[in-house]
Symmetry: C3
């Protein structure tokens, strides 16, 4: 399949449009079927992924790794602790210049904003941003969007309630921007004022003609939702710990709250890991989609690798 | 091959009976032949192992990895130091819930007792316990038993002398229980009183009708043995270091002691790593089986993966 | 292909002669073509590399790994931080004795001189020295020599200027010795006196009948060069930091210096990582070969694995 993503770096959700996303999600569906039917894919035989995690991230690293392996490729990975060349004072650009010769595509996770772009500027092989500090993590946004599609069987005409720390949450920022490519989305952002969605993103959404509501009334916010997207409220973000204490618990989803306040077919998502935001008793509810969401990361990344490497999938 | 282990979690030696073990060992023999003849196996093509070592263990991790690779499978592994999700406060259950979507079988090593069982309760893919603290390490017991079989060409009618720290040694406990499935085993446990075999295990063995002798006379104990199973005496287990000094050396196997006290065809085993328990001059003796024992770990684990994943082996 | 390297340990550049090197470089050329044409190699299907990095080295580890993977093999690796068996007091020999059963070839990096040899004495599978402290790193010397051949299309009749810390630089020592197998090489060693090439190596080169010049006049030294081989001047090597300050910068290659002093077709090499020895503006010059040099590491190691494992390459 020659895709418009072939040989492209994947740095930001801004690269995607409706047509790219439709192609990608249709490929994602295929991947899910292959995996579930235990069909063996060999499309990436002879390909090597350079899986560079300058910052540890078990889930993302293992998800990218398995996505590549299940397509018949091989993975050459490294993690922060073993990055000896960096500790010897090498620049990121030099590291990438060398490692691109050892692989066919690079996945890069780094704690510093802008690292993925820097890498892409020297790399002849495609670079996929797997999170660069407070920057983007575009494949997370793709898998989030795919999960909404997979759970609701539609991407338009939905009320999406995002809750938790919306100020620092890289995932909610990127997902909000991807949702702006859809039609008739109503956004509800429920957070303590101190960690509400940044004004720049709110303006951006409004400029696309969408309705945005900001609130700290958690129960009201979830009652309207087709999809609740919860993120961690990080205690360390509060200058005054007592502020945190005030909110803690108010923004926690429980089975009782969901049964009491939410639509019967509400979908609950979370990028994981969770701590206290979603109680264990929610897990058994049919709308608890966060583990399916994590599983979708595998399929979306399989589809992305095929697209970026320009590989045809033969049913 | 449809085995009674197909799709089973492997948590404890209590799951095994004579028939399971015979099937497994016959498969193990096949695996050894394949490996030694450098025949290429592809039976696990398209399969991914999630090799989760929350606690470092070079030998076990590499043994499981190569076992999977030699069958044509792929390995996605992680080790304690890079377990970022745990450090972010995620529960083991959540981690397993996510990672099971990225693989077909999980091998789990953890420092806490009961972890493997906990993981198995949420995992749809088989979980193999690769050691959970003072708990079990069932594949070690299997490879130990296989090594006895391989060295002696029989599992019945043997005198097995276990020496060293029998109190804390997870491997000797599990092996003793597996040996209770055999016929006419005489057990000699030679250890300083302070680290002798726990009474519960001794009773258990006796309830199976076997003869058990406890002693701290090392030389007498090894003189009766068909198999000597040595384990590390850990200095740190002694409240009073001078107790340790008293025993140190008394329980060390040397070529001289073996030639002087032991049966000519005695087999010497050790789970490794060894420190001072077996002197280097023992290595050249024909009965020094500990490196063959380590090699058997590969074949037993290959057999176990095939059984658990229900794969037919075509000669 | 049955090579004279088949089943040999690769410990030192002293093992190589002209005929071995010619065979190896001709195989290296083939490997480069395969890789560049994205041809899939399966020659190492069913083989496992034990990639043992007791000391971290991102570049070398990833280069060996990808070399093995691109030939269809599998890699079982471990790095210093996870070497639990060593931390439990196991000897290197015992570790190797066990791990050789889990793989078909071992690559070993260690901080201590002589480790590779020690490992080779107990290993039935070939051991490749990937650097042991101040000892050798023979595959680095091979890829350096191959790069000179690849850039200059000849190995004889060249002036090779080595600059930087020539005293502690393992790579320049090994490369100098390999160059002694060629004809009519003129060596210029440009370094502050305190880190000049050891007298033993200088004598050795002279005993082969080659001309050697030692200097601290950097600009003169590079003006004669067909090839400049630059290495890091390590600040920590100077007892008196002000000595370092005196030299710092004098031995730095810049585009301006190269354009002003050097032959138009000069080749610039560096084992990487670089810090201040070569300015970024050099990168764009046609003679800046250091990233191609790093890439050549992949092809040379692919050729070496085939030779050591005695594998035929079918075009």
């Amino acid at each position: 399949m020659s895709s418009s993503l072939t040989n492209q770096h994947i740095l930001s959700v801004d690269q995607f449009n409706q047509s790219i996303i439709q192609d990608l999600f249709s490929l994602t569906e295929q991947m899910k079927l292959y995996k579930q039917n235990k069909q063996i894919r060999t499309v990436l035989n002879g390909y090597v992924l350079g899986n560079l995690f300058f910052e540890a991230s078990t889930r993302s690293r293992m998800s990218f790794t398995s996505a590549f392996l299940y397509l018949g490729g091989q993975v050459n990975h490294t993690t922060g602790v073993t990055f000896s060349s960096i500790s010897k004072g090498e620049t990121l650009e030099d590291t990438i210049n060398v490692i691109q010769s050892y692989c066919d595509v690079i996945v890069l996770r780094h704690s510093e904003l802008g690292t993925a772009k820097k890498a892409s500027q020297v790399s002849r092989v495609p670079v996929i941003n797997a999170g660069d500090g407070i920057g983007e993590h575009p494949t997370q946004a793709l898998l989030d969007l795919y999960t909404i599609f997979d759970e609701k069987k539609q991407l338009d005409n939905l009320t999406i309630t995002m809750v938790g720390d919306l100020k620092h949450g890289r995932t909610v920022h990127s997902l909000a921007r991807l949702l702006c490519l859809q039609k008739n989305i109503r956004f509800i952002f429920a957070a303590p004022q101190i960690v509400q969605m940044p004004e720049a993103i709110v303006s951006d959404i409004k400029s696309h003609g969408f309705q945005v509501e900001l609130t700290d009334d958690f129960n009201a916010a979830i009652s309207e939702a087709d999809v609740i997207y919860s993120t961690r409220i990080q205690r360390e973000r509060y200058e005054n710990p007592s502020d945190y204490e005030t909110f803690d618990g108010l923004f926690t989803l429980t089975k009782e709250k969901i049964n009491h306040y939410c639509k019967p077919d509400v979908t609950v998502m979370h990028p994981l890991p969770r701590t206290n935001e979603i109680k264990l008793d929610v897990d058994a509810l049919p709308g608890a989609a966060y583990f399916r969401q994590a599983a979708n990361g595998l399929y979306v990344r399989m589809a992305l690798f095929c697209s970026v490497l320009g590989k045809e999938i033969n049913g």
